[in-house]
């Protein structure tokens, strides 16, 4: 029988027993990891959040008979409290795999605090079970040490961010979760108001406007670990709610702010991971990142840069290349080290891979040991021409040169993806390296063919570069933004900008984005008004905490970095949310569901 009320209360955690003197009496509590019954002796591995310790139930060592009986009833995941003494193990019985391996506890008293059914999976690291089962039984999944370690890493990371920002006189301010829907409202989660029938709050996609208003308020240095929400069609690794470290500062030049953020990362990586980062981080202009890496978030742990070989193949009678160049496209190449010996089948796999970006094929040149070249292009190119390509790409013996020809965008996208794929497959990226960089000089706007208008590349509050400001009306696509992304190992971990702080510039921006004056006022009147009362120059950044935890924890999935994540269809499998609500609840909100859809099977 389960005891009615606990009377034994923990004096030490499992791990703390390592530091007590032999013979000390302690009380431990936790879960039964496993139990081995040798007849006259029962061994139990007790697990608490600090680790595992071996309990010994042995009449010959003083365990009372009724405690032996109770020990017989123990099963995995039972919750128990035990009283006993810490003793050193015999040399032969030392278990070097656990931190308490040199000691064990001889049990004198046992309380079963709660019983447990056999769990759907064994509580241990690296468990091989379907993720839906893990998510449904998340409370068991989180018992696994590796999951608890991620939660603790997350905790420490956020704590150290706060410590740095506190030290630098930033003030954390909580901004509202119930706020106003914006024109990009298609991605807003809405919350019907009961008191203002027919009206809605929206959950914030970010605290952007609030933090800018806090700068108008003269707060000067703000941060917040902020929950954000985006109702997107969830790709494999997106979550409807996510956490941002949101920062904003007034009266600083862009580079001073970047330097502050670099010092922050340096401090956090030092404290949390013991990793020393070198500052300043590399700066790459957006254009250069695209040209060299086919990506605005390049993984800089390895080279394999993209080379333009358009001028080297110009005029050579090879239709694929000529067509690309004549239609304004590009011919570019990368050199994959050590892949000169790739079989036809292996190269075909790469061709299949880039096909997803619309690329029709890849030409290849193998640089053999000794420098000889082998290529499908030999029919069209002289050996000298091939050599000049190899030299242009900087290929070395053993490299496989892969060449793409198509529109500039398709070529860069394909080679960029191919570069990453090969880089990871060839283990060119050091798992233990954290390679930061800033990507800068983003275009302010991009033209949206669907909407037939310019849209903001980051958001409509981003300040243009002063020297490009004159082009805001005449040549919007050429205006560069005072924007910067922080990238790490191929991920964008933070994005920010200096902001527009003058009403006249903000109005010009809205006009360029196709807002009528009325629309601008309806949606952002409060901001335009605020700008009239003395707004300081300001800028900031937001870091994605979930992703950063994933990279620092070397995890594979954002879901593993969030205590209670949702599936890619936005479902909480443990709680079964979202769920239907009562008619009474809808009545109160004056809402009606237009067409009841047949219930969809959940993933």
């Amino acid at each position: 029988m389960t005891s009615q009320q606990a009377t034994l209360f923990r004096t030490h955690s499992a791990l703390e027993t390592v530091h007590v003197q032999e013979g000390t009496q302690v009380v431990l509590s936790g879960w039964v990891q496993r139990r081995r019954d040798l007849g006259s002796i029962v061994f139990v591995d007790l697990r608490d959040r600090s680790g595992i310790i071996q309990l010994v139930f042995d009449t010959s060592k003083g365990t009372p008979a009724q405690v032996m009986e109770a020990a017989d009833r123990l099963r995995n995941e039972f919750v128990i409290a035990v009283q006993g003494i810490i003793v050193n193990r015999d040399e032969s019985a030392v278990n070097p795999k656990i931190e308490t391996g040199k000691i064990e506890m001889t049990v004198h008293a046992l309380e079963i605090l709660n019983e447990a059914k056999n769990p759907p999976f064994y509580i241990q690291d690296g468990v091989d079970v379907d993720e839906t089962v893990r998510l449904r039984y998340r409370y068991l999944d989180l018992r696994r040490p590796e999951m608890q370690n991620i939660l603790r890493l997350r905790h420490r990371l956020i704590k150290e961010f706060r410590a740095f920002l506190d030290e630098n006189a930033f003030v954390e301010v909580e901004t509202p979760i119930l706020t106003k829907s914006t024109p990009e409202g298609a991605r807003d989660y809405l919350v019907p108001s009961r008191l203002q029938s027919g009206e809605f709050y929206a959950l914030p996609q970010s605290p952007q406007l609030f933090k800018q208003l806090l700068m108008v308020s003269g707060l000067e240095r703000y941060y917040q670990v902020a929950r954000c929400f985006r109702d997107e069609d969830l790709r494999a690794d997106r979550q409807p709610e996510f956490t941002q470290l949101d920062i904003e500062q007034s009266f600083i030049p862009l580079d001073t702010f970047q330097a502050m953020m670099e010092r922050m990362m340096q401090s956090v990586f030092h404290t949390v991971l013991g990793v020393e980062l070198t500052v300043p981080f590399q700066r790459i202009a957006y254009q250069e990142a695209m040209e060299k890496y086919g990506s605005d978030k390049p993984d800089l742990r390895f080279g394999m840069e993209i080379s333009d070989i358009g001028n080297l193949v110009q005029g050579v009678d090879f239709r694929v290349f000529q067509q690309a160049l004549e239609s304004g496209g590009a011919v570019k190449a990368i050199a994959a080290p050590g892949c000169a010996g790739y079989s036809r089948k292996q190269v075909d796999e790469l061709v299949n891979f880039v096909a997803q970006y619309g690329l029709k094929g890849l030409a290849s040149i193998s640089v053999l040991e000794g420098g000889e070249l082998k290529s499908s292009l030999s029919k069209f190119f002289t050996p000298e021409q091939l050599q000049s390509i190899a030299a242009g790409v900087g290929a070395k013996a053993g490299d496989l040169i892969l060449i793409a020809a198509s529109s500039r965008q398709q070529v860069l996208q394909s080679l960029g993806a191919l570069r990453l794929k090969l880089g990871y497959e060839l283990n060119l990226a050091d798992e233990n390296e954290f390679k930061f960089a800033w990507v800068t000089d983003f275009p302010l706007l991009s033209y949206d063919e669907d909407e037939q208008r310019f849209v903001a590349e980051h958001h409509p509050f981003t300040m243009p570069k002063w020297e490009d400001l004159d082009m805001l009306e005449s040549n919007p696509g050429a205006v560069r933004a005072q924007a910067y992304d922080m990238v790490l190992n191929g991920y964008e971990i933070g994005g920010g900008s200096m902001r527009i702080y003058r009403r006249d510039i903000q109005e010009r921006m809205f006009r360029t984005l196709g807002f009528s004056e009325e629309q601008a006022n309806e949606q952002f009147g409060f901001l335009l008004r605020a700008f009239e009362y003395g707004t300081p120059p300001h800028g900031g950044i937001a870091f994605g905490i979930d992703r950063l935890v994933m990279i620092m924890g070397r995890g594979k999935s954002l879901r593993d970095c969030i205590a209670f994540p949702k599936t890619s269809s936005g479902t909480d499998l443990m709680m079964d949310a979202p769920s239907p609500v009562s008619d009474k609840q809808l009545d109160v909100l004056n809402l009606e569901i237009r067409q009841r859809q047949p219930v969809q099977p959940r993933v």
Copy 2:
């Protein structure tokens, strides 16, 4: 003209200039607090978040002519950057009211970073302006130093809570904002799901279930500064979203947990306010608190306790008292110190005050200097009887004894409210005292006459006292809970309990609350299931951060303690939320507004 791009960047804050050597060149930036033009000299008070410093524009001291001209254009709230040198003021010009009062800056260069219209109210403390104006222009309201101080107090308070909890090995875990609607769903904010048409998320009223599941997960020590949501009819000082410090711990006896929370408060009050708290805090059982103070959150900074005088008036032929006693009610009294001389009109005001609780009147006895009694009851009571009442109430010379007779509840409620009113009016509560206490032994359940069933006094996860558990079915109203509130100066600042951790007890609780087995499973199946896999004994508490900031900052309103609060009708006056949304947004959600209400005027 406003300069195009800032070139002067702050080297010091206003306050930091106090520590620089005379003659040092610095750059400052901030807002024009005010400008005094003496013709050849212009004085400008420059405000940044650290304070105020006087700028001097004076050609004879080296201010260039064009800077003098620019200084002429400055108006209140203009944003500027200035370069110049710090000089000591003449003795006669020292301003002891500001921290930089012994120095000033002679300006050599000025940049106007942004202009400002005349604000709707002057940016200073103690501004006397309608709160709706302050809320509409919140970004200006927050410029006032007293508002910034509250934000900073809030920041430091939360920071110190985190520091204590981190030190004690608690781990902060973020729990979902998009979660599942509960049966008390009437107070849930709902969020329609687009991907699961016709289904809804709910915003959490608290992370209660998640934190319990984290205990099932073996996390052992959890906390979170958590945003919570409750869609209530907002009373004057409620907010639809509020912040809780949410804490949960496993494997601890109730008193150990309380002691930990006391140490936390001690640490936080020491660090943030320099106030030393004495622990342990006083403990008062709920019944005693109600009897003595007519409140379950008594302000213990002063006495004026309620005395039962039923036995002293028993049998005296005074109809009002006799009726109360015969119908099972009560006759109770308080003694208001120094009020013996209250006029008839003053006493009538007190009678009017208690009338709001349904009380028909108050009898009174004045204890004059020398001990003589004066009373409206003299017709019915002998002098000896009156003296025995005065003695029973513990009244002293100068006291006014106020007596209420009615149902027990009405008497306690009235005298409890009267005690507070008089206590504050008579300045019995020391503004600088922070008087903590625990209120314990709450009833687990109360009978809801409307619903004709027992409802949970705290929530349905509260553990009954073990010794009362047997009465859960036979006498639910008599069962006491393992619940505790932390009260401070008349406010409940935190409420918590040990939780039910066994499925059998949780099922009995749901049955007592009138849940069918089906309902219990539908709503809380995940919790009942979780309890089957080894749930440790656990308990916790949640503190209201907004209220605590208010008490510690000696504020009058919760709204002043929140950066961007909502009005009592749930409106954000600055952003104008909630607001109508587009038909397209509703289409996507398959929602229809049942009846469009005429637009209500907003408050």
